[in-house]
């Protein structure tokens, strides 16, 4: 029975090209980074060094500084983008007339390359010439944003928030729209005010989407390197030298593959934990059935 056998093999034929690419280009390099993490590059030859790369990492101030900066960046970025994204999603959920036009405009920054966004934001904050540098500096005690640690981090947070706001809003809006309108209307009829309807009906029902958006943005924050490369390159000094940037520089600029790979293993672990949370949340919603 040709057709019977065909029926059995066909699904695997269909997924084979995708699987092959994912295995070769995503999984294999990730596993290879574990191998590299236990070696060092000496004149182009890999040399086994055991756990020394990790010992160096744990004992280096630069690593802890990077980890702290990544956390600070992540907390501000995720917090702000969730807050504004949520407020915006509530507004768009009201189906205002012309809402589509607003949404399209708000989405434009997400469609720009990180380096294009970086050029724009650096230009606005360039010492002496930047329009926002000159406008905001007097309000904040005459600071030169890109030359101050917290100022430079603030610019990157602002730029990343600007780029990601619409995306976060869209995910949260999708969650809001899964809440049936009848439920909140019923709540209103029963005498609840809007505040109560939101906290007792809308919020619990969209909690899973909120969690997914939160994890998604956290992963984005941990791995954000493009905006840092294009705006601060880690400066001034090491004030914005986040984990991903340090990893990039060690491996690509200094050919320190072992050390860079060890750093990427550390990041892999952080990501894997977040991915696990993400997937279990999706699974609880039966997304894989």
């Amino acid at each position: 029975m040709l057709s019977h056998r065909l029926y059995k093999i066909f699904p695997y034929v269909l997924i084979a090209p995708a699987m092959l690419l994912v295995l070769l280009v995503s999984l294999y390099p990730t596993l290879y980074s574990f191998y590299l993490a236990f070696h060092r590059n000496r004149r182009g030859v890999l040399e086994y060094v055991g756990t020394r790369n990790f010992e160096v990492i744990v004992n280096s101030d630069a690593f802890w500084n990077s980890l702290r900066l990544t956390a600070v960046f992540g907390i501000f970025f995720v917090g702000l983008v969730m807050l504004f994204g949520f407020l915006l999603a509530l507004v768009f959920n009201r189906n205002l007339q012309g809402g589509g036009i607003y949404m399209t405009i708000i989405f434009i920054p997400w469609m720009l390359s990180e380096i294009v966004a970086g050029v724009m934001w650096r230009w606005m904050f360039l010492p002496q010439l930047g329009v926002l540098q000159n406008a905001l500096s007097p309000l904040l005690g005459d600071i030169t944003f890109l030359a101050t640690g917290s100022g430079a981090l603030g610019v990157v947070i602002g730029a990343t928030l600007w780029r990601s706001l619409a995306f976060a809003m869209l995910l949260l809006l999708a969650g809001l729209q899964t809440v049936p309108k009848e439920l909140s209307e019923a709540g209103m009829i029963d005498g609840a005010n809007r505040w109560q309807v939101f906290w007792r009906i809308t919020w619990p029902l969209m909690l899973p989407t909120t969690q997914i958006t939160f994890v998604f943005l956290t992963i984005q924050a941990v791995n954000a390197v493009g905006m840092f490369l294009s705006i601060t390159q880690g400066g001034p000094g090491t004030a914005t030298d986040v984990l991903s940037l340090q990893m990039y520089r060690e491996a690509i600029e200094f050919f320190n593959f072992g050390y860079g790979a060890a750093l990427s293993v550390v990041m892999f672990v952080i990501n894997a934990v977040l991915a696990f949370v993400y997937i279990s949340t999706l699974r609880a919603q039966h997304a894989f059935d």
């Binding site: 090209p17 280009v25 990730t30 290879y32 507004v91 390359s113 724009m120 869209l170 491996a251 990427s264």
Partner: protein, 290 residues
Amino acid sequence: MTVKRQVIERESLGHWLRRHENHVLHGLLMLLCLVMLFPILYTFITSLRPQGFGLSRELFHPDGLYLGHYERLLSQPRFLRNILNSGINSVGGALLTTFVTACAGYAFARLRFVGRSSLLIFILAMMMLPGITSLIPLFKIASDLDIRDTYFVMIVVYGTYGIPFGIWVMKGFYETIPRELEEAAAVDGANPVQTFLYVIVPISLPGLIAVFLTNFVFNWNDFLTALILLSSTDMKTATVGLFDFQSQLEGNNSELLNAASILIMIPGLLIFLAARRSFLRGMVEGAVKG
């Protein structure tokens, strides 16, 4: 007396807000749109001023708009080469993604097979481990194989990055196709391969186009992967070229730099504006199963 009057005034303010709620929201949204567009508009305005004009207080040069930066860029072979490279890599990668996810998405949406759900989770897990943790080994592997600075490596890598998202979107698309179509084809004697090729693929064109366009824009905008895998001037993409440009020009000819960033922004922006509906829907499906 005073207490009572205050209460009345506060009520009327609340009333006023409630009555004009939609107007207030429209106003706030317009303000937000202005804020979101400001960096782009300011960059655009800057790009229309002659070199070194950044110090001036006037918006434009008294002689009017200056198009010299755009003329210079569009006649510069290196810039055009960067754009061409971006085009080749983006189209190639997006085509690869579209082809493999059109196939895999169908299997995940409609066919029953052993390991279906775990393979789907595996692919999603790969999406959650973003490029960055695999970039360093990828750099090493590409160097060892001597395939850095090639279209081949960029197309394969871009093609792979789009897979999880593409499968998610295509799977969602196939699930909206009524099962009766496949059943009718089976009754007519078509085997699963024929059903897929002659019944499903032709009506899935809108989904395929959406996957292609979205991935084209992602690839076009990619900066980090290209920065790591490309180092020869001839092979660099527009985004990497812009990065080099940034370190050379900033401060002394920011106007030219801004013109370059505007030109590089245009293709992605136009595609997004033309196909915004499928973009927005695809992105929701890609992250939260809608």
